[in-house]
């Protein structure tokens, strides 16, 4: 009795790219969805006078995108970087505090590369799941020479309102309210 050798790989060759990319795609979507969750939001921090924040720009002596802890200590607003020195702003010098809502993609460069490398436009599907909403806290304050400064912080969604209230209670001035709706304005022309 003779047996003819039969190649088992031959029929599977057509399905190979799909078999290989589908698990990768599912894994990427799952990872991005997990990243889009809100790990920093703790119920204790919400509405309190200390929140986790990312400095976007404006604070003297603090680099852009620096992570840290934003807190009210005495009569000053303090941003303590995760590693490094702290920066302080006297609350009495704050001229305006305003809130906003932004939406951004998570995962940084690694996920962006993953999205670009995903075949069959799978990166777009990942993009649908890998975004996160966050609050922005914008401060305008004066320095000792009277110069106007502006600082923007990114705070986990839902925490900025309580922090703003705490700042106002400590004596920070507020000029305008309710400008967060501007984000949804489609187009405004002069």
């Amino acid at each position: 009795m003779t047996y003819k050798p039969v190649s088992r790989k031959a029929p599977a060759r057509v399905e190979f790219p799909i078999r290989r990319t589908l698990p990768c795609l599912i894994l990427l979507i799952a990872c991005s969805a997990m990243l889009a969750q809100n790990p920093g939001a703790s119920p204790a921090a919400a509405g309190g006078s200390s929140v986790r924040a990312t400095h976007i720009l404006g604070l003297q002596g603090v680099s852009k995108s620096a992570g840290g802890n934003l807190s009210i200590e005495g009569d000053a607003l303090k941003f303590q970087k995760t590693e490094g020195a702290a920066a302080q702003v006297p609350i009495s010098s704050i001229q305006d505090v305003s809130l906003g809502v932004e939406d951004r993609q998570v995962g940084g460069v690694p996920l962006a590369v993953g999205r670009a490398a995903t075949p069959y436009a799978g990166g777009r599907v990942i993009g649908l799941f890998s975004h996160k909403k966050y609050d922005t806290l914008t401060l305008e304050y004066l320095d000792a020479d009277g110069g106007l400064h502006g600082a923007i912080f990114e705070i986990s969604k839902g925490q900025a309102e309580g922090f703003k209230d705490a700042l106002v209670a400590k004596g920070a001035h507020v000029k305008v309210e309710g400008q967060t709706a501007a984000a949804s304005t489609p187009e405004v022309k002069k």
């Binding site: 976007i56 720009l57 404006g58 305006d96 305003s98 906003g100 932004e102 939406d103 951004r104 993609q105 962006a112 999205r115 990166g123 777009r124 993009g127 649908l128 975004h131 922005t136 914008t138 305008e140 004066l142 320095d143 020479d145 009277g146 110069g147 106007l148 400064h149 502006g150 600082a151 923007i152 305008v176 400008q179 967060t180 709706a181 501007a182 984000a183 949804s184 304005t185 489609p186 187009e187 405004v188 022309k189 002069k190």
Partner: protein, 203 residues
Amino acid sequence: MKTNKLLFAAFMLTAFLAYSLSMSAQAANPKSGKSSGAPQWSVQVDKVDPGDVILESAFRVAIYENLLDEMAKTKRFKQVFRSGDHHAADVPDLLILKTTVQKYTAGSETRRTVTTVSGATKLKVSSQLTTKDGKVVLEKVVDGNVRFFGGNLRATHNLAHNIGTQIKESTLPPPNPATAEGSIERTMEASAGSVSTSEMDVR
């Protein structure tokens, strides 16, 4: 085989010649706008005026802060002052940079990622350099957009960078008040890609 070697050598020689020619051309045309020991203006960056446009405060503040950075980077000014700085009052040769928002289109990073063609954040501002007594020295309309990569606030960085580039490439009148009434450059339309500049004398 020998022909291939000859072709390769000829290609390398051509590439070397082209490179050396481009380098010498760059050396012959130094960048305009660099200070040459002449008296310099100082600049005070004014608060961003949102005009009639509803603009989030984060954008307004980001434009202001990015403008301060970019003005320092141009190296056209002796000192850069913030709005309201008391020291600016004592400076004789001071220009004030006024920025008024003309148009703002809110974008979305997610829409940009998913669709590529939509979701762009667009900003268009009128930027004026004026003297203390309100004389307009330079006026330009500048865009700052984010079309593909980056967050929405990146539009403010691009906008400030474009304003800085415009100022760097412009000819400012000398700070001496006697000659300051010379040429006033006025550009009605200038965008990131194409810049049109026209000069006119104001007496």
